[in-house]
């Protein structure tokens, strides 16, 4: 017989009442799992700009928010959407061709409990932190990744105007890129950029807990996140540099997700019932480029011949199991309005290549091609295939493979391989940002671009999307293919693997997105 009394009843009722208000939270916390990811490396710094690399954004993206967020899954996109959604900015309006006003979401707190205000946003994009002569000493790439910023203007606690000195209709896109994470002004200034990178604070769904260099980084759920609550209790990024060990760690159950595999690993992993690979084309392009200061590769006809001699579909089939993608020129779907879906494919024409080699007056002397091992996936086998293709048209290329940690002298280089992440959802990256006037290929590597190319670069940087801009981009692509300051190869395919119980999809840029994209079965 169940006995009860008034005291017990009151205690029971109190517990029930308390439980009714907190049960969801308790259940939520209990259901959440710690996510463990086996990664190829960690960034040295989690300062958002200094951490830009192929390992940094996947962590930085969880700690920080941006004013506008790229929604990779918008409108049913499968991880490659480019739509920008309001995030820390509740709304925004373009004032003119150089400025945009942002109304900030109110009540958003940094992980240390201070409120995020317009002062923090203004500081984030100020010359003092990002692009000025002093900032370059501690945030070296801030200016390089920036548009032509002017100082931001704070209108009130929750309103800020971001401005550029020259017209730019890309301000919004920059804010949704890896340039955009908002940092807390006072905390950042009290530590300085370097120390901030070892103990970062943002407004994101996960809080920084620990970074042990070259070993692991741990984040924990930010319970007071302003957006959709984080679905993992913590995220640990464990460095496992050796790919075979990463795969073993996934099979043995130590990791929920592993990163940075190649298509060759897919069959093994997909053979396990509880595991699967999840791959995606990433917004990056493998290429090789020239040192124009070296007479050996100054002939446009020779460079063009080397491009025409490459059988890209064969390379994609042999090295990437058909999963890499060959772009139609410097032209990717992630460019949005500046992508031309009708552009013709890059040409493969052995006979024309032979004719151009003859025309170039190439004397058969060996041309060196530098690659830092397989730093870029499949770099060495790709080079070996191309050497044979070039041999078939009469060009003698010899490989120079150098070790990580060494950098050959510029003057020793004739050709080198390279990859460019297309980090802005616009055609400006990287045909303009790397090959344009004053940029590395012209300034450092000596490419004397046609005047028309440089004029068009200035034009597309300032024009609004539309027919005129699209036509300018297509003309730039024509000049690029004719001049061949670099030869594009393919868009690589990035492979992850995960437990089937982890509902998560990779996205098309070198980052990981867990907002609305992580659940455990």
């Amino acid at each position: 017989m169940i006995k009860t009394d008034r005291r017990r009843f009151l205690i029971g009722a109190s517990v029930a009442a308390l439980a009714s208000t907190t049960s969801i939270k308790f259940a939520f916390a209990a259901d959440r799992k710690a996510l463990k990811i086996g990664v190829n490396g960690l960034p040295s710094s989690l300062e958002p700009i200094n951490g830009i690399s192929n390992t940094g954004p996947r962590i930085i993206n969880q700690i920080f928010d941006t004013l506008l967020r790229r929604d990779y899954f918008a409108d049913g996109a499968k991880g490659n959407g480019i739509k920008l959604m309001p995030a820390l900015a509740e709304s925004f309006e373009r004032i003119d061709d150089k400025s945009v006003r942002f109304k900030l979401r109110q009540g958003v707190k940094f992980h240390n409990g201070t409120e995020m205000t317009a002062e923090d946003v203004a500081f984030t994009f100020s010359s003092g932190r990002l692009w000025g002569d002093e900032a370059i000493k501690t945030v070296p790439n801030g200016r390089n990744f920036s548009p032509n910023w002017d100082e931001p203007v704070v209108e009130d606690k929750h309103t800020v105007v971001l401005r550029t000195k020259t017209p730019s209709y890309l301000i919004e896109k920059y804010l949704g890129s890896w340039l955009g994470p908002i940092v807390p002004k006072e905390y950042y200034k009290s530590l300085g950029a370097v120390a901030f990178g070892n103990k970062p604070i943002g407004t994101g769904p996960y809080k920084f807990k620990e970074l042990v260099a070259n070993d692991h980084a741990t984040l924990e759920a930010n319970e007071s996140y302003w957006g959709e609550k984080p679905t993992a209790s913590s995220i640990t990024y464990q460095v496992v540099a050796e790919p075979a060990t990463r795969v073993a760690g996934l099979i043995s159950g130590e990791y929920d997700i592993i990163t940075t595999l190649t298509p060759d690993d897919m069959a093994l992993i997909d053979g396990y019932d509880d595991l699967e690979t999840r791959g995606t084309l990433i917004e990056n392009v493998h290429m090789f480029t020239f040192n124009f200061n070296n007479p050996a590769v100054q002939s446009k006809a020779l460079r063009r011949a080397m491009s025409l001699a490459i059988n890209r579909p064969l390379m994609v089939e042999a090295l990437w199991k058909g999963k890499a993608s060959i772009p139609n020129g410097f032209n990717f779907p992630s460019y949005g309005a500046s992508f031309d879906p009708k552009r013709k494919p890059m040409e493969y024409n052995v006979e024309e290549a032979k004719r151009l080699v003859k025309e170039s007056g190439y004397d058969g002397k060996p041309i060196t091609y530098h690659t830092m091992g397989n730093y870029y996936a499949n770099a060495v086998p790709a080079l070996m295939m191309m050497i044979e293709m070039w041999k078939a048209v009469g060009v003698n290329v010899v490989p120079t493979i150098y070790a990580p940690g060494t950098t050959p002298k510029d003057s020793d280089i004739m050709i080198r391989n390279w990859s460019n992440g297309q980090w802005l959802t616009d055609g400006l990256t990287t045909m303009v940002s790397e090959f344009g006037p004053g940029r590395g290929i012209q300034k450092r590597w000596g490419w004397k671009a046609p005047i028309e190319f440089n004029d068009l670069c200035d034009k597309v940087a300032q024009l609004k999307d539309g027919d005129e801009r699209s036509a300018a981009f297509n003309r730039l692509r024509d000049i690029f293919e004719d001049e061949a300051p670099a030869v594009l190869l393919y868009q690589p395919f990035d492979v992850y693997a995960a437990r089937k119980t982890v509902q998560w999809s990779p996205v098309s840029f070198e980052t990981m997105e867990f907002r609305g994209n992580l659940n455990f079965k």
């Binding site: 370059i136 790439n141 260099a213 070259n214 060990t245 043995s252 130590e254 950098t407």
Partner: protein, 306 residues
């Protein structure tokens, strides 16, 4: 003995100084750290600011003098990569490496020497062949591959041990086993060969003729005479305790000094690289010094010469 130690110390100092100078100069010619650290996208202005910040814009002799001045006071500078004190990076990673390497070394000695003795005593028997076959296999399979085989057996197949990381004692088992197997194989082969050579000496035959029991011949006559070459060999192996675990650390994602060294080399983090090479050198010099002192204790002839 004091004079002996002093002369060795002077020699050790000369080795350290010349290593520091050599490494410093070679690293300055191995490429531009500004480019390695800041990446391809960095502007020339940013690279110039980086060089000024770290004093890389000064002449190499000037840089070396500044470096020496600080190093003498125990200040090896800061990491180019994350601004951490190089001394802290090294002191934090050495214990991790030594946990694996010293444990493995002790296990290797405990396995290798008895195995070598048994194989020598039972020469040409089935036990000898089994021990030597195992030793040859252990020594000839690359450590990297042994590590992956262990991972496959114990982490993937049996699922009893973790494959990577360094957060618990269980994570240390496979790296220790891998490093121990490799060293035990070397030790057992060498112990066997040395002991066989000693057992063929006339004084051993004489001892046998005198009717001394075999166990006493081994313990009192053979082993002490085999000790010096064995100590020399153990000394050579011991020099790899700090820097020799690079492969094991890479395979098992064990963040010791080897893994940190690989990272620093890859990034062009010169302050960390040169300090680590100096630490490796100090370690090797100390091991060599210890071995030479041990010789003096083990061999009265060497002691009397000094």
């Amino acid at each position: 003995m004091t004079g002996f130690i002093l002369s060795k110390a002077v020699r050790a100092f000369a080795v350290l100084f010349s290593t520091a100078l050599f490494v410093f100069v070679v690293l300055r010619f191995s490429g531009d750290p500004a480019e390695r650290m800041l990446g391809e996208f960095a502007t020339p202005e940013a690279q110039a600011a980086f060089r000024t910040l770290w004093g890389l814009d000064k002449s190499i002799p000037e840089q070396f003098l500044i470096y020496l001045q600080h190093a003498i006071q125990g200040d090896f500078g800061k990491s180019f990569a994350d601004g951490r004190d190089v001394f802290d990076i090294i002191t934090q990673s050495i214990p991790k490496t030594l946990t694996v390497s010293v444990s493995a070394f002790i296990i290797a000695i405990l396995l290798g020497i008895p195995a070598g003795i048994v194989a020598a005593i039972r020469r040409d028997s089935a036990i000898d062949r089994l021990v030597m076959a195992t030793a040859v296999l252990g020594h000839s399979i690359p450590m990297f591959l042994v590590g992956l085989i262990f991972i496959f057996i114990f982490a993937v197949w049996l699922r009893v041990l973790p494959s990577s990381g360094s957060s618990t004692w269980r994570h240390a088992i496979l790296p220790i086993a891998t490093f121990a197997l490799y060293n035990a194989a070397s030790i057992s082969r060498f112990a066997r060969a040395t002991l066989i050579e000693v057992l063929e000496q006339p004084y051993i035959a004489a001892a046998r003729g005198d009717g001394i029991p075999p166990s006493e011949i081994i313990l009192r006559h053979a082993l002490p005479n085999a000790a010096i070459p064995l100590v020399t060999m153990l000394g050579i192996l011991a020099t790899s305790l700090l820097g020799g675990t690079v492969l094991v650390e890479t395979v098992f994602a064990w963040t010791g000094i080897g893994a940190q060294f690989v990272r620093a080399v890859g990034q062009g983090d010169l302050n960390v690289v040169q300090a680590m090479i100096l630490v490796f050198t100090v370690f090797v010099v100390m091991i060599n010094l210890t071995v030479e002192i041990l010789y003096a204790f083990l061999n009265p002839k060497i002691r009397s010469q000094q």
